[in-house]
Every structure is written in C-alpha cells, then in structure tokens.
C-alpha cells in the first residue's frame, strides 16, 4: 500500500507492507537510524518519535496507521551538524553515557519543553517515565532537562533582542 507522510519537515511517499512498523520504516526505509529499537513492546521508549507533535512509541505503530501524518525524529531536532539546545545540554551535563536511550530522551524532552518551557523536577520525571536509561542514571538526565530549558530560554531572549 502507498502512504504519504511528512518526516522531519520533508514529504515522503512510500510503498509499504501493511505489517511494517513505523520504527522499521524510519530505520530501514528512510535510514533514520537515530531512532532505536530497545524492547520492541513499548516499555523502554528508545523508539520515541513525535506523531503530530505527541510522543509515541514507534515500535507500537504500524507505518500504515500514520498515513497523512507528520513525524519528527531525533534527526529533525538538530539543524544539520548544529546541536539543538536540548542535545547540547545533555552533552554538557554528562547525561549521555552509552547513548542508546538518548534519542528517545531527547525527543520526549523536546515534547515536554514545547508545552512546558520551565518544568519542575516532578514534571520532568513524569514526562520521562516512558523512557528507560540503564547506565547514565536519571539524576544527570533531569539536570540536563533543566539546563536545556535555560538554554532555550536564553536563546529565545537573544532572538527577541535581535528583532
């Protein structure tokens, strides 16, 4: 079957099998391998992407189900080789150890900060409960989200002044 979607701002048209997961379309079909497969059953969040702006597990969605919709992956968050402030913050706070869970955390954090630019500790842990990390630890990740919120706030201030 034929689907048309927007991935990271670009229109994509693909012939797919009905049993293909969104995760497989992204990784194998579009070579967007930033999105990871951890558990394959919605427990770990490594495959998190935004579907029409909402964080979802791409391992639990068929590609056929997202026909006509918009997907944002971790690749769409950075601008080429320039890191997004959220990514910068994860690096600066040491919130990346093995890195496997990181794309999922970055995408979930992106969704959180878009709706809540200055979240509390509790709001952060609640927004990230669907993302598991087994080596870095959550303290540094929560620190990184706070740091990212500050960086984004500063950046916004600068662009406002520039106007």
């Amino acid at each position: 079957m034929q689907i048309r979607i927007i991935v990271n701002g670009r229109p994509v048209e693909r012939e797919i099998e009905a049993d293909m997961r969104l995760l497989d379309l992204l990784r194998d079909g579009l070579h967007l391998t930033g999105t990871k497969e951890g558990c394959g059953e919605g427990e770990c969040g490594a495959c998190t992407v935004l579907l029409d702006g909402q964080a979802v597990n791409s391992c639990l969605i068929l590609a056929a189900q997202v026909d006509g919709k918009e997907i944002l992956t971790v690749e769409g968050i950075s601008k080429g080789n320039t890191l997004h402030p959220i990514q910068q913050a994860f690096v600066e706070e040491g919130a990346v150890q093995c890195g496997f869970c990181t794309p999922g955390f970055i995408v979930s954090t992106y969704a959180l900060l878009k709706s809540n630019p200055a979240p509390s500790d509790q709001e952060i842990t609640s927004a990230l409960t669907g993302n598991l990390c087994r080596c870095t630890g959550y303290v540094k990740i929560v620190d990184a989200v706070h740091h990212a919120a500050k960086l984004m706030h500063q950046k916004e201030g600068r662009s406002r002044r520039a106007l």
Binding site: A55, N57, C59, L60, A64, S126, G130
Partner: protein, 288 residues
Amino acid sequence: MSGEKEFVQHLQHLKIGSIEDLLQQIGEPGARIICGGTDLLVKMRSGAISPERLLDISEIDALRAIEEKDGRIEIGAAVTESEILASELVTVCLPLLRTALVHLGSLQIRNRGTLGGNLVNASPAADSAVPLLLYNAELILQRAGSERSIPVEEFFRGPGQTALASGEFLRTVSIPIPREGFDPFFHKVGRRRALAIAIASLGALLWVEGGVVAEARLAAGSVAPTAIRLSRTENLLTGEKITPELIAQARELAAQEVSPITDIRASAGYRREVIGDLVERFLNEVVG
C-alpha cells in the same frame, strides 16, 4: 528481533471512515479492530494473534468525542487516555477515572492507547476497569442492525474475554455522573509508578450521611479473573457507622472476597493482604 514470529503475510490495513463502513467490514473472516495498537501490536508480534485484516477505527469521528448528556458522560471508544486526562468534564465529574489513568503505562502509551482498547483487551489489571466499575458505567455495544447497553461488570468474562459477540464492537462508554458528597479513593500497587502492571488496585466511592454509610462502592483490580466489585464488603459497610471493629471486619471480608492468583508479579496471599490493607487504609481516611 530474534525469536519472534513474523507477522502474518499479506496483512491488510484498512482505514475505516465511518461506523457504517465498520459494520460492513467487521464480520469478515480474519478481521480485527485496531485503534492505538499498544496492546494489539505486542500480541501480533508475539504470535498470540494473527489477524488478516486490520480495521483502523482511530479516525472515526463518531468514536472520538467526550460529551455530557442527560447527567451522563459519554466517551467514544477511540478516545485516547491522554485526551481523557485533558478533559475538563472528566476532571470535574469523574475524578477517579482521571486518577486511575494518570499512571497508565507511560505518556507514549497514553498518547495512543484508548479507553475502548483498554476495556476490550480485558486484562484483569486494566487500569480503567476499577473506576468504571465504581461509576456503574454502561458499555454501548453495536452490531449491524442493533445495539445494546450492558453494565461494565457484565462485559468482562475472564482474562482477555468479553461479552462482545462476533460482528459487534464497543462504541461508547456511558457513565452516570455520581451524586456529590462522596469520599473517593484509588490506589494501585505495582513495582514502580510508571509502566507497572498492577499487583493489586483498589478504588472506592463512599457516601456517609448522618454518621452512617449510605452507599459503599468498592472495586478491585488484578485480584480475580476480571476487575470486580467487592459486593459483600459493600453490604457489610452499608447502613453502618464506621468503627475500628467494622474496619477490621471489612479488611477481613475484602481479603476473602477476592480470588487472586500467584504469578510473576506477586503471590495470591500477598494480593489478599494488599486488598485488605487498602480497604483498611481507605476507611481510616474516611473517618480521618
């Protein structure tokens, strides 16, 4: 991933535009309704089920509304858990439904998973079952040419088993708004807060009038083949003044009334203890 069975070959995915279209397709052999897919895809990949045609109802507008009608809240089967949590109507009129869904799965799951899916999946641990039992929800089931309404209690027939007949689907969850003046309670015991399948959960609504219990509703999850009302404990409490002796009796009776199993999450004995403990905790909260 290794060790997993391939999906059935030549699977078809059909986006269904209306209830009329759904009724035409639902009786076809190998057809199965999909909406969020959060439970269905796991079952398909494990090989537990192998549908041939997936009828995707996620964009049927008639199944996507939350409305107030004649003192009831009606929630379409395809409304997501996140949408329920964001609903002002639910927050104001059905606070226990909100409390129970806040910790369902994770944000990613709640953004896709639906109320209808949670019910049709019929897990004894389904997070929406306990509040819907407490609120005396009715489920509206539709098939070609007819519809019927059944109490949520009669919908669950066993683990994964429901009252849905072949060719029938769950259209709407209809919940009477409870009269004011109750003490609400909901507590889910799991290994962790997020993504936990409940070891046991207890919900309650209690109306105390003139110092005695006018009405008691208690429901428990993960401690029987389906989520259940604790009707013997409810009867014990009704018409009585809440005393330490009554609390001790209620604790005992609730623990007897459930029929839990031992599984990977907890033993049957532990689950009985937990239910008794939660009943005691709730009644102590009521008397303050």
